[in-house]
Symmetry: C2
Subunit: 384 residues, 2 copies
Amino acid sequence: MSDTSTAAPQLPIEGELCTVAIGNFRTEAGADIAETAIAFQRWGVFKGDPHGQNNVLLLEHALTGDANAANWWDAVIGPGKALDTDVWCVVCTNALGSCYGSTGPASTHPDGNAWGSRFPAISIRDQVNAEAALLETIGITRVHAVLGGSMGGARTLEWTLLHPERVGFALVLAVSARASAWQIGIQSAQISSITRDPDWHGGDYHGTGRSPDAGLAAARRIAHLTYRGELEIDERFGTSAQSGENPLGPFRADDQRFAVQSYLEHQGKKLTERFDASCYVVLTEALNRHDVGRDRGGLNKALHSITVPTMVVGVDTDILYPYHQQEHLSRNLGNLLAMSKLSSPVGHDAFLVEARQMDRILRQFITLTEHYAAEQADSPRNDC
Amino acid sequence: MSDTSTAAPQLPIEGELCTVAIGNFRTEAGADIAETAIAFQRWGVFKGDPHGQNNVLLLEHALTGDANAANWWDAVIGPGKALDTDVWCVVCTNALGSCYGSTGPASTHPDGNAWGSRFPAISIRDQVNAEAALLETIGITRVHAVLGGSMGGARTLEWTLLHPERVGFALVLAVSARASAWQIGIQSAQISSITRDPDWHGGDYHGTGRSPDAGLAAARRIAHLTYRGELEIDERFGTSAQSGENPLGPFRADDQRFAVQSYLEHQGKKLTERFDASCYVVLTEALNRHDVGRDRGGLNKALHSITVPTMVVGVDTDILYPYHQQEHLSRNLGNLLAMSKLSSPVGHDAFLVEARQMDRILRQFITLTEHYAAEQADSPRNDC
């Protein structure tokens, strides 16, 4: 599969989803996923050496994201934008375990039925290794930088540890070095919401004609309260009643709601229309297992060992990944490039929605990597 | 019922639960609860005028608390303790809607079956009015102070607005002037956990031989993550595996858990052994409806109108009632007595578990009320 020649990498038409077979994949915990495929998209023209200096920016999406980064990060990807596709070749893969093209529990098993409960538990490291296999398959063994937030930030961190020789720089947003107990707690509550749904069928509901939508919606409702800032949600909804409903009547009724209830139910319903419950469970479980310290002598030893110049960004109001977790990263990373804070009432999602601040942060990151790379290129000359 | 004579109030034996009938109760939203009863306990000897200056400290418990304050606040109630029962007569009622003696959905309806879904939605104001009716029935129409945290803090605030002439002083801990949208969101997620349980039966599961324990446990698991500080939970559990289990195996399994999962499941299970799901729904809904501004010209107008000298206390790491909400109270209360912050990694529950700090805060509060009362007694003399 691997071709270490300098032949141009095999890239799809700009903006089109392309799915690439990477063969059997063995997980960190020792399970096999036969006939694994990883989907990806790219924007901008590849330039440079696919095994050395080049212009690839590898983007890592969040939990329910997809390879279509130009959609979910449209404010910052495109000609002239912070991640300028006239200059950079932006590549975004769909994570292993997801339902947007890459193999996951909702995908078809080689036997023709859905993977369902046969799909193993995966780790963030598995996702990165599958992605590395994809890149190798298409002929790229080094990228200028890896960038990602939340679950994408966890993958970015793991890239710098699993394959440091393949990563020039890293931008890690709104994540921590490992799952905290609070995160495991709230994430497990979400998994439980789904698995307690009578339509879950032990994860093998595909083909039953039913799916655990109520459980998935409930999980999303909880999750959304960790993605958004407490002040922002309150400023938007406060104690307002949903239009035409009375949440203060003599009896509680599911159809007489506060506006925020309606909003959260809408968020839940929207997800059920675009996402698969078993994939949600698998990806959430991957977040539970996120721990850069595992089998590396502990958290801080692992962080200290990182040589890839890495910029860390957090959000001051993030409930899910509180800012002190990014401060911890910044104190312990072996090669900190820079640190930046998004100041926003929006909470965790700020890295997706605070376009102006993200534009500045991404431009700063790109500039820093260019300066750093130029300095590295200069230093062997020895001007003395 | 009301007896405005100065006859000694009718109080139960110290520490014994006593249930008092208050007759038909009409809720704020216009529903009737026939044959309502309120349970209460007292410690210490009553002294003074039941309709004027006396030594009654009225305590208000939190969501799943009960009238046995000497149990849940044992570090601060008793002879020589901050709430010194050699000096003060401590009274604690069980809130309307609960399942520890007062009438709630799990109580027996006059027709001999459980109230179940026939029990109406109640507000914090209803709880206070039911409690006021109880006090009137036993012959007390004024107390030295009302003190409470969380849902008890909400009731304390409402005491100062509904019955200011009956309250000398107030201590409001770890609560806000109204439910925030975030609180309504997370609380509604808990209610939904219960009502989605197949054993819920629209709230009429009493007598079916089954109860929505799984839903109640799931609700508690979510709630507990808002009662405890994120740092404290992480310091205790981190990413540790539950003893004898492997949460990192090749497949996710409900019986292979992280330690924090086991801890939260234990919290959930413990609650199902002592609390009723329909009461949890009714009391949580009461918190959703908490809003001192309703029908009083808005939040700040209501707060400004409070004449009862009130001390406000918050916790620096409170996820459920963030400290800025207590700061908001302190800025807008009409008669702020004092403001204090519990500094603790424990989060919301700090007012229950940080014994040393609570001891100091309660002693400070008692002293302030004594000085204030002495000043008020002095001022009519006009020394000039």
